[in-house]
């Protein structure tokens, strides 16, 4: 199957980053789609956790919010929100956090708080939610975001959640024992932090995408690894699984839009 959209490629490449052994704290939107495609394809026993308290959930459609009833109905168990953040996240029981964001910088720090000055923002974004502690307390972090100059910026106005900070060993210097962002999956390519500097570096390029296209869509002079591989195209199974869950989701979220 050769026809697929960049967003489909992004979601499938993100799904492939996950394994059966992962215990994954799932962000809403693209991360949620990726995590559920992983569960429905190569990682049927992955444990998915949403911050609303649902642990080991297996939704049939993608939730619109982090607390849709579907998540609770299909969970192994559901805990109160303080327990979720205290015992399970801060307790170090979660191997992988999967985040998205409005803006990211070259060290994988994320901004979901404000564009412009905090006191007089040009754009007020929703805020951090669970992200600041997901970023520091999960074993490692995957990030998925479409590559664009608006999103991949040279300097963040605000660090909502720390990735590799100023690069190098900044995380260790702050006492963090977790790995932080280890992969950023975009619609054009996959980035990983350089082992020493921690600057995000292109390691895999999706089918039909050029180096120039990647450079043009990034807000800083983006680096390419010495060896860059081609991202394998989606398989028929991967693509069908993603399209099926998207179709079920669209159908489920339609309704009369009735007012209260």
């Amino acid at each position: 199957m050769s026809d697929f959209t960049p967003t489909e490629m992004m979601t499938i490449a993100a799904a492939r980053a996950l394994t059966n052994e992962d215990v994954c704290f799932v962000g809403i939107g693209a991360p949620s789609a990726a995590c559920n495609v992983a569960r429905l394809t190569h990682a049927p026993d992955i444990t998915l956790i949403y911050e609303s308290g649902t642990v080991g959930t297996r939704p049939d459609v993608l939730p619109l919010s982090i607390g849709d009833g579907e998540l609770c109905d299909t969970a192994l168990f559901t805990v109160p929100v303080p327990e979720m953040f205290r015992y399970w996240l801060q307790g170090g029981r979660i191997t992988t956090g999967f985040l998205g964001g409005a803006q990211i910088d070259r060290f994988a720090n994320l901004n979901t708080t404000v564009v412009g000055p905090y006191d007089h923002p040009k754009v007020r974004l929703p805020g951090g939610g669970g992200a600041p502690e997901i970023a520091s307390n999960c074993g490692q972090i995957f990030i998925t975001m479409a590559l664009s100059k608006r999103g991949f910026v040279d300097k963040l106005n605000f660090i909502t959640s720390m990735g590799h900070g100023e690069g190098g060993n900044h995380r260790e210097r702050l006492g963090m024992k977790t790995k932080g962002p280890s992969r950023v999956i975009t619609d054009l390519c996959i980035l990983e932090p350089d082992p020493v500097t921690k600057e995000l570096t292109v390691v895999s390029i999706h089918q039909g995408v050029t180096h120039a296209q990647i450079s043009e869509n990034c807000g800083w002079p983006i680096k390419f690894a010495d060896t860059v591989i081609d991202t394998p195209a989606p398989t028929e199974t991967e693509l069908q699984t993603l399209r099926d869950i998207n179709a079920r989701t669209r159908k489920a979220h339609q309704g009369d839009g009735e007012a209260a």
């Binding site: 801060q90 951090g128 209260a260």
Partner: protein, 282 residues
């Protein structure tokens, strides 16, 4: 002992102008009917508290009921921005909004500290993040045993907490299940509390000895408002109306459309209008 009363009385007796008010519900069981009564009664200068202020707080902010808000994630989940919240922060309309912003982990810990009658909560949080630079209520404490430096935030002790639950018995004992969020902590940390429920029954018939129950003596007022969580949902009663959350984006985008919606659906309506959403799920 909780007083079983009407929604109008519960709000007028327990919510005062200028109060700090927490209306909790983590996506599930959001107390929409009670929030609408707060708007209908013209309460003002409220300092709102909530982890995930979504459409209900967009309505309260746009209606001019709020002077400030303490929160950790303010959006329309899965849809996008809260336009009334953004208009207040970006353009001070209909009035300026003082904000105190935290992370979910900090808010959850702060509610728990409030319920536990402690002055502050501590957590391994905010490491490398910018929020402590703009929120003076995020400080640091040093562990007296290990020397580790941890984040500290003040306990949340609202004047009044309002939640929606599944059912109550005639004594006012309240049961909730499913995604239970921070509701129990928010009620136990508050001076006064109002719980709206889907139904009042003779016997709670708690499904498990570990069910989440708020006993009558820990609650101030209990009110039956079937459908009172719509367009959020009540586990086992009715599903979340994701279609309404999507539709809200258009309603809230424009000030005039928003105000017309408030007039038709809140000012000219009442709690009984929620009942049609309460048909039991099969």
């Amino acid at each position: 002992m909780a007083r079983l009363t009407s929604l109008a009385e519960a709000i007028s007796e327990n919510v005062r102008d200028g109060d700090t008010v927490a209306m909790e519900g983590f996506t599930h069981l959001i107390p929409y009917a009670a929030g609408h009564e707060v708007i209908r009664q013209g309460k003002k200068d409220l300092f709102l508290i909530r982890m995930t202020p979504d459409i209900l707080y967009d309505q309260l902010i746009g209606a001019g009921a709020a002077r400030g808000m303490k929160f950790s994630w303010g959006g329309n989940p899965g849809v996008g921005s809260l336009h009334r919240f953004r208009d207040a922060v970006e353009n001070q309309w209909p009035r300026p909004l003082e904000i105190e912003e935290h992370s979910h982990a900090a808010m959850a810990n702060a509610y728990e500290a409030g319920a536990a009658n402690l002055p502050f909560a501590m957590l391994r949080g905010y490491i490398g993040a910018d929020l402590p630079k703009v929120n003076p209520n995020i400080k640091q404490v040093t562990c007296p045993f290990t020397g580790e430096v941890l984040a500290a935030v003040p306990a949340i002790r609202p004047d009044v907490t309002i939640i929606h639950a599944l059912k109550a018995d005639r004594k006012g004992n309240v049961l909730l299940e499913g995604i239970v969020g921070v509701q129990k902590e928010a009620v136990l940390g508050a001076k006064r509390s109002i719980v709206t429920v889907e139904e009042i029954v003779d016997d709670l018939n708690a499904p498990s000895p570990n069910s989440v129950i708020l006993p009558s003596w820990a609650v101030t007022a209990v009110v039956a408002v079937p459908g009172g969580a719509f367009p959020s949902y009540a586990h086992g009663y009715y599903p979340r109306s994701n279609a309404f959350y999507i539709a809200w984006d258009e309603i809230a985008r424009d000030r005039d459309t928003f105000q017309a919606w408030i007039e038709d659906n809140i000012m000219q309506a009442g709690p009984e209008d929620f009942a049609r959403h309460a048909k039991k799920a099969a």
